[in-house]
Amino acid sequence: MSLLSVRDLTVKFAMREQTVTALNGISFDLAKGERLGIVGESGAGKSITGFALMNLLSRPGFIDHGQIMFEGEDVVTMNDRQLRGMRGNRMAMIFQDPMVTLNPVLTIGQQMIETLMAHRKLSREEARQIAIVKLREVYIPSPEERLEQYPHELSGGMRQRIIIAIALLLDPQLIIADEPTTALDVTIQADIMELLLELCQSNQVGLILITHDLGVVSQMTERTLVMYAGRIIEAGRTREIINDPQHPYTQGLINALPQQTLPGQRLKQIPGNMPSLTNIPPGCPFNPRCEYATDLCRSRIPEISHYGEVEVACHEVQRLQSNDARREVKA
């Protein structure tokens, strides 16, 4: 049985004049201990997906319909009590900026012990011991002293380690990491990612990694979802998606990587911007930016369907494939 099974998840935002759809029928599965990447531009709905999985959307956002089965229970229909029991305990979340995620007026120890005692019947001393063990697991030196310190006394990398330790405190089955290293510098990014990977593998914890960094996704995850304007447009094994992307948007993303360009050349960017949610074009949402767009693309929304190893939502995928083949023959 899969750990997490999302079906037709639709999230809307009630704006003053109208209701806009931020997530449009998202479906995916996650097996126990599996690591899934969600990639896309800013505004594609990646972070909203993360929040929706926790059922944490606050006004004006709300889950319109859909199902989020987590360990056999539907997160969408849980009451507040059940949600509180689940959050932090079975499903944890790591945020982008470690500088602002920890409460500035509580010591690290207070924050960790409070979390443990809110979910488990433990004495303060037992909770402290668990906190120390978890800090060791994330390679924090002299954890006893760290417990007495305030967040501002620690560096960004150290804080993100502590945040990971807090996420792991209650041995959750799933961690949602929303751009966990965006706010850190590059050398620390690699450390943190390696740590997260190691911890997920050794504890059999499922991971949903939300990022715009395809390099990170290729190192960290087994499967990848590519999102665009609130829809999944390509899904499959990470290796296939990186090596042989089918959707023109995914291809564009990969071609835009600096590694794909010779020094001195301009970076190959995808022309245009992601449409705003209030103004999504008819048909395939990507069509105004797509060089292969046809009349069909401009009128009908493509369904996501199996194509070879991956699932793609594109009308033109077959034609693209044959074009590629022809081009290869010419070359």
């Binding site: 944490l56 509580l106 809110a118 030196p141 310190q149």
Partner: protein, 316 residues
């Protein structure tokens, strides 16, 4: 891994920590704050220790002799050596009466502010955190409350209670009535400030992360948001203590506060007012000066605290 830079040799004491912090530093560098704090502490300590410091007990009718009334303070000719600041119209030693009166004024001021703070912080936290209709309802209530002036509310309330219970009972419980009425009349000040801070704090990621960890709204409000909203609360608290002391003095001056048998600074000023033109100016002026100095130093301390705690001034 980074090396362990913390030296755990000697843990500084709590006082040393405060002394060496930003606040301690700015305090040491600010003569106005030091002087204000010193004067405030002197007034507060002598008020607190008034039973020990005062040569007479002004609440004890047996120790009062009407024949001693209206002796001037020591620097005016005709004074008696046993009454250093002179006596009032009933023959009470003014120095003792001022000490006891200051104690009452401070007590009422601080308790009234504690009540304001309790009401205002709870309502402000709930309004800011829950938001929506409840927020609108509570804040409209606060607006309505603010549109009545504090004194007007207090006068109506105190006059009605005085008529209801009779002045005998009223005088007996005057302290509690004053605390209640000043406390209830001014809660919107706290509620508005706290609500504004909560609205700003609630958007910060540590609140999201607290929700993600499965904490309930009560715990998030009290343990996570409230401690982060304390600086503006401190600042308005000092100003509000000064305001409450003034309100109490005004009400007593109007005859709606402390009875003449247990005078606060305000009722002392009021009782001396009848004699100001007959030459006994000291009964009004000396307690008046004490009141002004007390309120002034509290306000100066509040000003200093606002400068120190204002994040715009040091976080850049």
């Amino acid at each position: 891994m980074s090396s362990n830079t913390m030296t755990s040799a000697t843990e500084p004491s709590r006082f040393a920590k405060i002394w060496n912090s930003n606040i301690g530093y700015s305090f040491r560098k600010n003569p106005v704050a030091i002087v204000s704090m010193a004067i405030f502490l002197i007034i507060a300590m002598s008020a607190l220790l008034s039973p020990l410091l005062a040569p007479y007990d002004p609440y004890d009718p047996a120790s009062i002799d009407i024949m001693n009334s209206e002796y001037p303070p020591f620097w005016v000719s005709g004074s008696l050596p046993e009454f250093s600041l002179g006596t009032d119209d009933q023959g009470r030693d003014l120095w003792s009466t001022i000490l006891y009166g200051t104690r009452l004024s401070l007590l009422i001021g601080i308790c009234a502010v504690a009540l304001q703070a309790f009401l205002g912080i709870s309502i402000g936290l709930i309004a800011g955190y829950v938001g929506g209709r409840l927020d609108s309802l509570l804040m409209r209530l606060a607006d309505i409350q603010l549109s009545f002036s504090t004194l007007m509310v207090a006068i109506i309330f105190l006059a009605v209670t005085q008529a209801m219970f009779g002045s005998e009972t009223f005088n007996q419980y005057a302290v509690f009535f004053l605390i209640a009425v000043i406390g209830v009349a001014e809660w919107p000040q706290y509620a508005r400030t706290v609500r504004a801070t909560v609205l700003a704090e609630k958007k910060k990621e540590y609140v999201d992360s607290a929700r993600v960890l499965g904490f309930g709204p009560g715990r998030i409000m009290v343990r996570h948001i409230l401690p982060n909203s304390l600086s503006p609360i401190f600042v308005i608290s000092t100003v509000q203590v000064a305001n409450a002391i003034i309100s109490e003095a005004s009400l007593s001056f109007l005859g709606l506060g402390m009875p003449p048998s247990q005078p606060s600074l305000g009722s002392l000023i009021s009782s001396g007012f009848d004699y100001i033109f007959s030459g006994s100016w000291w009964i009004t002026v000396i307690p008046g000066v004490v009141l002004v100095v007390l309120v002034l130093v509290i306000n100066l301390l509040g000003d200093w605290m606002r400068d120190v705690l204002n994040p715009k001034l040091y976080k850049g």
